[in-house]
Amino acid sequence: MRNHIAFYTGGLALLCAAVVATYVIDNEYVFFAGYVVLQFVVLATGWNVMGGYAGYINFGSAAFFAVGAYTAAALFKATELPLGLQILAAAVIAGALGFVVGVLTLRLRGIFFAIATVAIAVILETVVLNWSYVGGARGMTVLPSDTPYGFSSYMRWLFVVMALLAVVAVAVARYVETSWIGRGLRALRDDETAAESLGVPTLRLKTLAATISGALMGMAGAPYAMYLSFIEPTSVFNLNYSVLALAMPVIGGTATWAGPVIGALLLGTSEQILTVTISSELNVLMVGLVLIVFVVAAPQGIVGLTRGLWQRSIQRRRAQQ
């Protein structure tokens, strides 16, 4: 109980801090970059529900991100729907895609599942490339509606929205992790046959996890068109989203909700710094190298690494006494 209170107070405090920041910080670029980092918190957290807890590696996260972005953009073009409803609709459609991916796990495991998710991304990109309503390959310009009252720029408003989405995503992931759902997912990740024999409805749980995961990743992409005032297929279906959605949880640690958050904050921030100071190609190279190092040397990620060091230091202290 005390844990819950601490968690939700923390989340609320972070949100307040985000709002306050929009008043005290003058530099617009901070919000432009901060939005991307927070967007990765949502994306990585969403990925981890399926990839970390259930152990099904989704290699097509870009598809979910893009489906979220295009759902929101298409709806905005059609009806000028307010941002909140756009995000909700994006979550529903991307969640439905997640449901389909969840059903795939009935037949596909391991590497075959991963390949299938890549295929889904390729198929959807082709569909969007040929969808003239949203501009096909040329893309589409989206002019955001008026900045809501109390915010000095639309960018600042989007920053706060993304901060809210990040808190919501982490709260959802944390609920999944600590509830009966998480225990069932971890059980089936270790051994599906054994889990099934003990009453765990594995297909239902996997489908549930994939739906939640898809909805969160779709949410991450939903404000994208508003953020850039423009959307086109190759940038939202970019392989980098798929790689980063996987790399961030793996580097941070897939076992807990804190892992993807730490990974996203670290990689997201370093991406912003490297892209500005040196080049965006160097950033991709760095992500690749760090990912390899972690997969080989610290598969439990930063969370597992620090936890291990901490326990060892406790043992050492006990031994000395």
Partner: protein, 240 residues
Amino acid sequence: MSALLQVDKVSKNFGGFAALTEVSFELAQGERFGIIGPNGSGKTTLMNCIGGALYGDGGSIRFNGADITRVPAWRRARLGIARSFQVPRPFASLTVLDNVNVAIEYAASHPHRAKQMRDLAAAILKRMHLAAKVGVPAGSLTQVELRKLELARALATQPRVLILDEVMAGLSAAEVDEMLEIIMDINTQGVTIIMIEHIMRAIMRFSSRVICLDAGTIVAEGVPETIVADESVRRIYLGA
């Protein structure tokens, strides 16, 4: 009174290989049922068909009056059919306690309160002499401990029928006795038990009725004494 479990002409083929051919038997509530037979005779396949890990190609299975032939394994677990696996299949990254908690949480027909769950898990782990290992990841247990965990998890589903697939393999004589005592105790509380075992001493002492499988068919059935004396069983086991 009808039987608790009715296996009626169950067959299972793997490609061209007939693993089970029209196997039939009935179990009454509270029985201690032993299954023997050489390696590859279809014992584990039969258990997979009863537990739901495999569906038979023919025949039917009824449990407590209801047809469960096409019911998925997780539902059978909730109905009260639990099993241990021949090769232990622990949730390696979960603690011993969480291994048991998963079973309690998911197999229960009604939701448990947190306190009830804790008490039940503690009682089961104590009974299986795993109380000292509660917080340890299951992946770091020894073979003997893993077998106890298999049984603990199966028990945690609070079954009506408990299938034990060679739970005593690799145990010392003293451990076999201890395990037998635990299983007898479970049986006296009303749980029907199906035991597959190669340790003859254990299965003959334990069972009230035994069947012998060979090449996917039942070749002998009866009380332990008649099974031991049976011509075909002797031929299968001793070769002559």
